[in-house]
């Protein structure tokens, strides 16, 4: 196991050029967007002289390569610039928002797995039987409903009418957050679990038909112990990569849900920044999401290695 994990340093090294590429895209994409930060900050009624002064102050008058160099140099010092709209260091804003979004993402992932694993097991236990058709019907519905609509419906039902959960916002303690984030996490879980259910269902069906499950049955295994010991881990292997991709999607894709539930996470920050042409913030959030995707990629490989002893990503044959 430890030996098979020796690919990690190499993978981290490989991630360096990827991250460099991310910074390139992030920086130049911001500059490809129409609109000028100086105008965005000072408004339409600003005089040409004051606009020019601000451009010099922001370094926008310099050639674009010089700006990029400065951006990189600042980045290495942990300086992501000052937010145009908040007039506060971007790093501060982003690091405030990261834990909020991360708890939302992890919470929704936990909920999605808690929904998907039992449903996939139920469906796979009787392919094409009514219970399977029912589960497949629900996955279709889950995938067909728009996220924001599900969110609003959940708010109407559980927050406005039944008053089980708050309408939105974010708590002060981790336990508080479980309560505040339940509805948004559930919304995200409903939208991502259909993909998990489908993947797990089909892999579970093939694992249930495998020779080693017949062997396990010949040892008298059945029901939950059989599922836990022999089926789940094997069936989960193909789903791991889907979970990895979904995690990356969730961090970037929680913008709408954060807006619906008024959660002060990366999504809200990003949306605000886009409205206000707050380039440093846009860059920082995008950079973080890119970095997160790279890290999730490495974590996915680690999860593969941990789940499947046959996986050897070191590129070396074992002695």
């Amino acid at each position: 196991m430890l030996q098979r994990l020796s690919f990690i340093p190499g993978r981290l090294l490989q991630a360096v050029p990827v991250v460099f590429g991310v910074t390139l895209v992030v920086f130049f994409m911001a500059h490809l967007l129409p609109g000028d930060p100086a105008t965005a900050i000072l408004g339409d009624k600003a005089t040409p002289a004051s606009l020019e002064a601000l451009r010099v102050q922001l370094g926008l008058d310099q050639p674009i390569w010089a700006q990029y160099g400065l951006f990189l140099a600042n980045l290495f010092q942990g300086n992501l610039g000052i937010s145009f709209s908040f007039q506060r260091p971007v790093a501060e804003l982003v690091f405030q928002a990261i834990p909020v979004t991360m708890s939302l993402v992890l919470f929704s992932m936990v909920l999605a797995l808690a929904i998907s694993i039992p449903l996939a097991a139920i469906a796979a236990s009787g392919p094409n039987k009514p219970r399977d058709l029912l589960v497949r019907f629900f996955t279709l519905i889950g995938q067909g409903m728009p996220q924001f609509w599900v969110g609003i419906m959940l708010i109407l039902l559980f927050a406005v009418n039944l008053r089980f959960f708050p309408v939105g916002g974010f708590g002060n303690s981790p336990l508080d957050n479980l309560y505040y984030l339940f509805l948004p996490a559930l919304t995200l879980a409903i939208s991502i679990s259909p993909v998990f259910i489908r993947s797990l269902r089909s892999s579970t069906i093939s694992v249930l038909g495998s020779d080693y499950v017949a062997t396990a049955r010949s040892k008298g295994a059945a029901g939950a112990p059989l599922f836990r010991q022999h089926v789940l881990r094997n069936a989960a292997i193909p789903t791991v990569s889907i979970i990895g991709i979904t995690l990356g999607y969730l961090v970037g894709g929680s913008i709408v849900i954060e807006k619906v539930f008024a959660i002060p996470g990366l999504g809200s920050l990003m949306l605000n920044a886009i409205y206000n042409r707050d380039f440093p913030t846009i860059q920082a959030v995008t950079l973080f999401v890119g970095l997160f995707v790279v890290i999730v990629g490495i974590l996915t490989d680690i999860a593969y290695t941990a789940l499947d002893p046959r996986v050897n990503l070191t590129g070396k044959a074992r002695a």
Binding site: T215, R217, G220, R233, R310
Partner: protein, 368 residues
């Protein structure tokens, strides 16, 4: 085995060691077969139509006996085995018949009671050691699983037993190998693991589904010897499914030859192989190389086995049989007890039978 299940059993035969030990004077185990299959029919139901895969198969396995079930792919031999183990693939059902294990009809037991037998009473070794082991579980744990469940051993004790069993199956360095994953072991070692797993709860009946097929010839021989040795040590009866007559000859004392879902010939290995009475058995022997007679030409059986879905009336082997007559194409020959022939009266055992109209002529060599 709980009280209720015991009450279901006909006769005096219990399923536990203590029952046997407390009633030695009755000693029914010696005479009663450990496994008795009667008129077993398996099939696939699709709507109103059923396609039978196994058709009216009956045979007995005596305690301590080694019984070979021989046939080519699709003859229904593996399905018969899986029906006994309760591991029929989806769609295949027991349509009729019984499988009495130590006097209890396995098909009448609840799923739970049946699972309780799998391991401590009946165990199975599968064909493909490459795929029959869970790839993400250490082999030691896979062996220990059964004894933890059925014998109630602690994790540590079960692992100790697993290592013991691995040593018994001749796996070198068992303590280290117990921590290996299946893909780290060779096919021969994996099949030894399967055998260790199957025997770890000391079953009374071991079902083997072509356990040699996937192995190298040199390893086949070792594993076969091991299997025989351990079955003797553990006092387990063996039901051995194979297409390889040489393996049956080496291992088994009795055999039944299956063709297209039916038993066409049965008897002791010695009598059937020396004096085959069914043209299919004879064809199998003629088509296999014989190292005692290396110059003998191999005679293949012409044609292909019939497809299960389109069964013709008459003997299912008739289209491929060079002895077939009009009668063979219209009527299915019943499996009848062999009567001693004038040619080799000594080789014929009372428990022998054949399903062929012309078996006497074939046995006497008139048509050979």
């Amino acid at each position: 085995m709980n009280r209720e299940a015991k009450a279901k059993m006909p006769g005096t035969h219990g399923l536990t060691e203590t029952d046997v030990a407390t009633s030695p004077e009755a000693s029914p185990e010696a005479t009663q077969p450990i496994l008795s299959i009667t008129d077993l029919t398996l099939g696939v139901k699709r709507g109103n139509s059923t396609t039978s895969i196994v058709d009216g198969v009956s045979f007995d396995v005596a305690p301590g006996d080694r019984f070979g079930l021989v046939g080519e792919s699709g003859s229904g031999k593996s399905m018969t085995l899986r029906a006994i183990a309760g591991l029929l693939p989806g769609g295949v059902e027991v349509l009729s018949g019984h499988a009495y294990f130590r006097g209890v009809d396995l098909f009448s037991l609840s799923a739970e009671d049946r699972r309780a037998l799998m391991g401590p009473q009946i165990a199975m070794v599968f064909q493909e050691p490459m795929t029959a082991l869970n790839p993400v579980m250490r082999v030691g744990e896979q062996i220990a699983e059964g004894s933890r469940r059925h014998l109630g051993l602690s994790r540590k004790a079960a692992m100790g037993l697993a290592v013991d069993m691995m040593a018994k199956t001749g796996i070198p360095d068992p303590i280290r190998r117990a921590r290996a994953y299946p893909h780290e072991l060779s096919g021969g070692l994996r099949q030894r693991i399967m055998i260790a797993m199957a025997l770890s709860c000391r079953p009374k009946l071991l079902l083997c589904d072509e356990p040699m097929t996937a192995l190298d010839v040199t390893v086949q021989h070792q594993v076969l010897n091991l299997l025989e040795e351990l079955c003797d040590d553990f006092d387990a009866s063996l039901l051995f499914v194979t297409h390889d007559l040489a393996v049956v000859n080496q291992t088994c004392s009795e055999l039944a030859v299956m063709y297209s879902g039916r038993i066409v010939e049965f008897g002791t290995v010695a009598s059937v192989l020396q004096n085959p009475r069914h043209p299919y058995t004879k064809g199998l022997l003629d088509s296999a190389p014989d190292f005692d007679q290396p110059d003998r030409a191999l005679i293949p059986i012409p044609g292909f086995p019939p497809h299960l879905a389109d069964k013709t009336p008459g003997c299912s082997f008739a289209p491929r049989c060079s002895f077939a007559t009009e009668a063979c194409l219209t009527g299915t020959p019943p499996l009848t007890t062999v009567r001693p022939t004038t040619m080799q009266p000594t080789t014929v055992q009372p428990g022998a039978g054949v399903a062929c109209y012309r078996s006497d002529e074939i046995a006497e060599g008139v048509l050979a």
